[in-house]
Amino acid sequence: MSETEFNAQFFDQFLDDYYAEADEHLRSVRRNVIDLEDFFTNGQAVPANTLNELFRSFHTLKGISAMAGVPAAESLAHHMESYLRVLRDGQTAISGEGLAALVRSTKKLEEIVASKRNNAELPAIDGEVRRLESLVPDTPRETDAAVHEVPQRRGESSIQSVPRYLFTFISAPGLAARNVNVNTVRERLQQIGTIIKSTPTVRTGGQVAFEFTVETSAEEASFESWVDDGIEYEPVVAATPDPAPADAPAAGDGSRSGLPGHSNFVRVELSRLDGLMLMVGELVVSRAKLEEQIKRLGSEMSAQQLSSLEETNHTIERQLRNLRDGVMRTRMTPIGEVFERLQFAVRDLARESGKKVRLETTGESTEIDKMLVEKVLDPLLHLVRNAVSHGIESASERKSKDKPEIGTIRLHAATVGESIMLEVSDDGSGIDLENVAARARSRGLLSPMDYPAGSALLDILCSPGFSTRDEADKASGRGVGMDVVRRAIDDLGGTLSLETRADLGAAFTIQLPLTLAIADALIVSVDRERFAVPQSGVREVIEIRQSAVRRLENNEIIEYRGTALPLVRLSKLFALEDNYREAFHAFVVGEGSQAVGVAVDRVIGQSEIVIRPVSDPLTQVPGITGATELGDGRIVLILDAAAIARRLEQKL
C-alpha cells in the first residue's frame, strides 16, 4: 500500500468512526431534548442529569467534529453547548423558544453530518447560531473566541499555571499495524493531561497530521519515548492571556465517547456481519443436501445406522439454527432508536401545524435488523407525517366531536413469529373516503359505481402521485407519497395493510421479515414447477375441494372463516397448466378484508431457505422476489405473496 493510499484509507476509516460516534451522540441528544420538552410542558423542574448529559453530548460533538474537520458542526455544537452551560448553571431557565432552538439546531446538526457523509453541500447554520446566541444572557466574550478554543470555566483563573505542549501525530501504515492510531494517541494524551484543542491538518503530499494542545503536569520523560510512535511534541509558550483550561465535561474527559461502559462494546462493520450471514446460509444449504442424501441412502442402510445418521443430522440442524439466531442477534438493535427520531419529528410537525398531538410508543425494545433501521425510518416517518397532517383534526374540530383536545398517535412494535409488526395509528378523523373516491374517480382509478374499501382503498392511496391534498397545499412540499412507502416495504419483503374508521382514526400496519437473508418457507408445487413462499407472509394453509369453489363472474371465491375469500390461481398468473384436481391447497396471505387465498396444486413441505436476489432486469418479473437452492440442488423461485395478492386486484 502506498503512503497516499494509506492516508486516504486511514482518513476514510477515521471519518466512518466520526459518523458512528456522531450518530450515537445525536441519538442521546434527541432522547434528552424530548425529556426536556416533557419536563417543560408539564411545568416540572428539569433534572440536572438531563442537562449534564446534553451538555456532555454537545461538548463531545464539538470535539469530534473539529477532529473530523467539519467546522459547521463544530460551531453549531459549540453554541448549543454554550446555551446548555447557562441552563445548567441556572443563569437562565429553559423557555419555549429555547426548546425550539434546540430542536432546530439538533436537526441541523443531523443534516450537517448526513451531508458530510453523502459528500453533499453542507447547510448554512447562521439562523440557528443567531437564535442560540440570543438565548445566552449578555453573551460573554468567550463565544467570540475561535471555535476551536474551549471556553474557559467560570471562576477559574485564566493565567496559565499548568505547562502546555503541542503534540503532533502523523499516521503511517507501520504505526497502524502496532495499533498506534489517532484514537489510541488521544487516549494516551488523555491519560497524561487534558486535551485543550485538537485539529487535523493535511500536510503537503496528502499526509494527515493531528495536532493536540495538551495541558499536563507530567514530566517530559514520561512521553519522550513516544517519538518512536510518531508522536512529536513541543512546549507551548503562552504569550498572551489565553482563553483556557478546558471545560472538561462533568464526568471527566476520560469518557470521550460518553458511552457508559463502552469498553464492553465492539463496533463492527455491517458488511462483516453480512459475510457471516452468507456463510451461515451456505451451511444451511449444505445441510439440506446432506439430508437429501441420507433420505436417498435410507433403503440401503440398517435401521440403526439410518437413525443414528438422522439423529446427527437433526443435531446439526438445531445447532445451525442456533448459530443463525446468534448471528442474527448481533445485527439486532432496538426499534426504540427509530421511535425516538419519530418522536422528534412529531413534535416538530405539531409545532408547525399548530395541532395538539402526542405520540405514544409501545414495544420500543422490539429488536430489528440494523439494516432495516435506516430503511424503515422513511416509510414510518411518512406515515407519521400523514397522521399529523391528514389524520389528527384541529383542536377546535376535536372539541366539537367530543374528543380529547390532544390527538394521539400510537407507534407500536412487536415480534410476531418470524416477522416484525410495526403499527402507526391515530385517533383522528379516519381516511376521508368520499374525498378519496372523488379523486380516484377523476383519475380513472375507480369506476363510478365502486366505493373504495379494503385493499382497493390502499391500492388507490398507494398509486403513484395520488394525493388528497389540494395543489396549493402540495406546493408546501412533503415530497414522497404512499406509493413510495409501499415500494420501500415491498423491497424489504414486507406487507402494508390499513384499517380506517370514520372519526375513530386510521391504523397502518407494516409486517416485515425478521431477517432478509434466511427464511422459513413453504414449498409449493404448481404444474411441474415448485416455488418457495416465505412463511412470514402466510397466515394459513387450507385444503380446498373443487366443489367448494364458487364462481362470481370472473372470480373464484371460497368460504373461509365465515367470510368470502377471493381465490387467485398461481397457474393462471404464471401461465402454467392447471390440472384442476378435485382437492388442492391454497395459502392465505393478507389481513382482514385484504386477505386472499393463493391456489397451488399442493403444499409439499417446509424448508429453511437462503434468499438470493434475482436482480438482472431480464428475470425481474412481478410476483417473484428471489430464488433459492433447495437441498436437492434445484433452484426454485421465491414468491412475493403480497404482490401476487395485489395483482389479483388489478385483474378484477
Binding site: E529, L573, F574, A575, L576, R612, P613, V614, S615, D616, P617, L618, T619, V621, P622, G623, I624, G626, A627, E629, G633, R634, I635, V636, L637
Partner: protein
C-alpha cells in the same frame, strides 16, 4: 502491423445453428454444462430461466431464440456460456463450445454493410481463419436489445 501478443486477441468459439461465432474471452466468465434451468414465469420468450452460477442467480438466454432460430432440445454438447457485460452476468445457451483461439487483429474485418438490419447490429466483425469464417459478436448489443425487448413485451 503489430504481430505481437497485443495484436491478437483470444476468442472463445461456439456453434449455433451450424455457424461458428466468437466472443472475446475477456468477456467470458466460464463455460458450464447445462443441468437444470428454472423457468421464470412471464419473462421474455428468449429467457429460458435462471441458473445458479458462482453464488449468483443469473438469467439463461436461448441464443437460438435471440437470433431467430428454432429452439432445439439440450444435449450433451449444449453449453451455457456465462458472459460478463456491462457489469451483468448472463448465461447464453449455445449448441456447443469448445475452442479458444488467438485471432490476429488483421484477420478481422468489419461486418459488411449488406448485413445491416438485426443481425448486423450483433456483429463486431468477421474473421477469416483458414477455411473457416467466424462471426465475432458484439455482446453488449446482444444483451442491450434483449433488455429493451423485455421492457416492451412484459405483461
Amino acid at each position: 502491423m503489430n504481430h505481437g501478443a497485443s495484436g491478437a486477441e483470444t476468442f472463445i468459439l461456439f456453434e449455433l445453428a451450424g455457424t461458428t461465432y466468437g466472443v472475446p474471452s475477456s468477456e467470458v466468465q466460464q463455460l458450464e454444462m447445462i443441468e437444470h434451468i428454472t423457468p421464470v414465469p412471464n419473462a421474455a420468450k428468449t429467457v429460458e430461466g435462471v441458473v445458479f452460477s458462482r453464488g449468483q442467480m443469473i438469467p439463461a438466454i436461448s441464443l437460438r431464440a435471440r437470433f431467430g432460430f428454432e429452439k432445439i432440445p439440450y444435449d450433451l454438447k449444449t453449453r451455457l456460456l456465462v458472459v460478463n457485460v456491462d457489469k451483468r452476468n448472463i448465461g447464453l445457451i449455445v449448441d456447443s463450445a469448445r475452442e479458444f483461439k488467438n485471432i490476429p487483429a488483421e484477420l478481422i474485418s468489419p461486418p459488411p454493410d449488406g448485413l445491416a438490419s438485426l443481425t448486423g447490429e450483433y456483429l463486431a466483425g468477421i474473421a477469416a481463419v483458414g477455411e473457416n469464417t467466424i462471426l465475432i459478436l458484439n455482446l453488449a448489443e446482444v444483451i442491450k436489445t434483449e433488455a429493451s425487448e423485455v421492457a416492451g413485451t412484459q405483461t
